[in-house]
Subunit: 442 residues, 2 copies
Amino acid sequence: MTERILVIGGDAGGMAAISQVRNRRPDVEIVVLERSDWTSYSACGIPYAVGGEVDPIERLQARTPQQFRDRHRVDVRMRHEAMAIDLDGRFVEVRAHESERTYRLSFDQILIGTGGSPVRPDLPGIDRALRAHTLDDAHRLLAELSGDPRTAVVVGGGFIGIEMAEAFVHRGLRTTLVDSGAQLIRAFDPDMAARIEHTLRDNGVNVVLGARVSAIDPDSVVTAAGRLPSDLVVLGVGTVPNSALAADAGLELGVHGSVVVDRRQQTSAAGVFAAGDCAQSMHLVSGRPVHLPLGTVANKQSRVAGINLGGGYATFPGVLGTAIVKVFNREVARTGLSESEAAAAGFGAVSTTIESTTRAGYYPGAEPMAVKVIAERATGRLLGFQIFGGVGAAKRIDSCAVALTAGFDAETLLQTDLAYAPPFSPAWDPVQVACREVLKLL
Amino acid sequence: MTERILVIGGDAGGMAAISQVRNRRPDVEIVVLERSDWTSYSACGIPYAVGGEVDPIERLQARTPQQFRDRHRVDVRMRHEAMAIDLDGRFVEVRAHESERTYRLSFDQILIGTGGSPVRPDLPGIDRALRAHTLDDAHRLLAELSGDPRTAVVVGGGFIGIEMAEAFVHRGLRTTLVDSGAQLIRAFDPDMAARIEHTLRDNGVNVVLGARVSAIDPDSVVTAAGRLPSDLVVLGVGTVPNSALAADAGLELGVHGSVVVDRRQQTSAAGVFAAGDCAQSMHLVSGRPVHLPLGTVANKQSRVAGINLGGGYATFPGVLGTAIVKVFNREVARTGLSESEAAAAGFGAVSTTIESTTRAGYYPGAEPMAVKVIAERATGRLLGFQIFGGVGAAKRIDSCAVALTAGFDAETLLQTDLAYAPPFSPAWDPVQVACREVLKLL
């Protein structure tokens, strides 16, 4: 009988593997089960579709199910959901939502790419809150916007919350961003988060911090800090892995209930792989397991899983928590450990923040930018970076991410031959200025 | 007697050392000899002052001699030129151009930061050709422009030549860029150089290749390809190290006559250091000595020399030949070895060029960009990158430069956690797409 590789989930965690499998194994049967109507779309693009910069929303779909079928000879089954995995019997219970039929599908190897779901707090009126996680969510948001709402409340001041707040301002809504914490976006240290907060306020977002939401009423969000008027409510309070299927099958779970995988993305069961928002990663700086539900990570993990499913050899070394976000006319990025994360991981760290410019100071269009660097006191080893600034500032985080991956100390990055010309950078790149300054603290 | 550290040359190669020396040695006397009227200015900014983007030209001066004196307690002697170094006697013969006096100045340690000079071909009429090397050159160019010239010829299609051609187009001159070679800017492979050439042509520059200049007449430049009308002629045909002083003192010279230095920037004589355009560097990928007269390299070398002169310990590991240039509305960058350089260094290499976009394809303002990667066939080790594209494309060369410094192979950079959000990048950064594609050739 033909060998069958089963992929559960038709988004990045599952689909990035497919070309890798097919390239190596023209002979195998590949079946994809996707419970929704969508495959392979850019969830990260949803705030821009909602804000109106990307139109129509269909542009977010990278490939249709039919394109997958044609290109990789894959049996893509839409609105088919894996209900249970029987590891001993080597089959999956599948529910076909269209026909309301349930059937058994045998497999030789399996890739679990079930993704994640937005955290859904148990609040009165929570059903009124929209999300920005799937294309269905995006369609619902656009439908609501066509009803001419005046006010919006975004619950949760993380990356998605900040992007959605900006989207609503673009749509002309009076917008509030509310978070229960003392600062926005806890991936950043408080000083950098404050810059983000000021940018949001400067652009008309009402930022409310330290206010836990207690209920979502038809016309307002109820918080400890009072009622926030809201024709529209969006939740962005985190993502949890969709790992119930894996757990029920007896697979080992780790951080936040994500599926534990080895370097080859194999789970605790042989021939069973996992990738994407449902899977755990290793943090390259802290050396600790983390759950980091990001599209880039999903793509990389899935590619590695696909190579291994196809009989090749590849490993996914881990993540840095690199992230980048546009906040109106500012750019923000981070990688590695923040000050508090470094302390939590047991590092004796020093940090400093420098102010520089995106281009040579005398060159037209030079904008201010700040770089924060965190380094190990005893060794100078770089632990993390945070960047805030104008156009051209934030993608500099990539050179920092490569340096962290390589285990550079501050002196080594300072000596690295980065690019300089007046339209692009001061003679010392701001990242290197930060390294130079942190060296003085060691 | 107070120890005296003598710095010959008041630009980057000399001056970046001074704060390092002073921080470590509050007690020493520091004397700087500068033969011109200028210290510490951005020579790289000259094309933009000539083009009119940077105005007034004084903005290119980072610090005045008086600022150096005040800030670091340095005896800066302007229009004083070191004529000879007597290593046994530990003194320098100094010519004070103002007073036309010559005197002896003893030293304990010395830093040679004499810089480089533009290559000056031995041609009839060469005195009519201007240069774009010093602030004096820039003032001369601006004076010529005020005489309302109609036509300009730039001789030499390297970085400075390309920048000057753009500057003249901005000033409304009919501009020709002539080079004796078969391609522009030999730091790039022919395919990428062709993109640069097309961009120049699209913006009105008359590019003439394979045409050696035989004379510079009052109204035209005479080449094998005919006469090129020229109210104004600028030379940009390379830089040679100003190493005669070092050579006459018996110091060892290397590539292109640059001063040989060890990892601490010390020359072949104890207590004698060299840094900047006069000094040799080590190429980190080829492992071979090179002469790379760039401001960033000068700053780094000079800082290292300053730390060592001050009794500290620092080393300058070497260079990658990283360079970046704006060509009208395109951005271009390179790092490491080109295909031909890799072959010359003995590498068995493969290369590929990918086409991607600066932002997610669906995001407004996404512009095409191309990344060329060169990798060692047997190991996948990354050897070099070349980038051509729209706004936001070229500074990505920095992540490549860090990866080359770390000795990454293509798989390692492909796995690195680079930043993604739709306004900044596709889900796979174009640099990683290039890595993914070159892996298929190994």
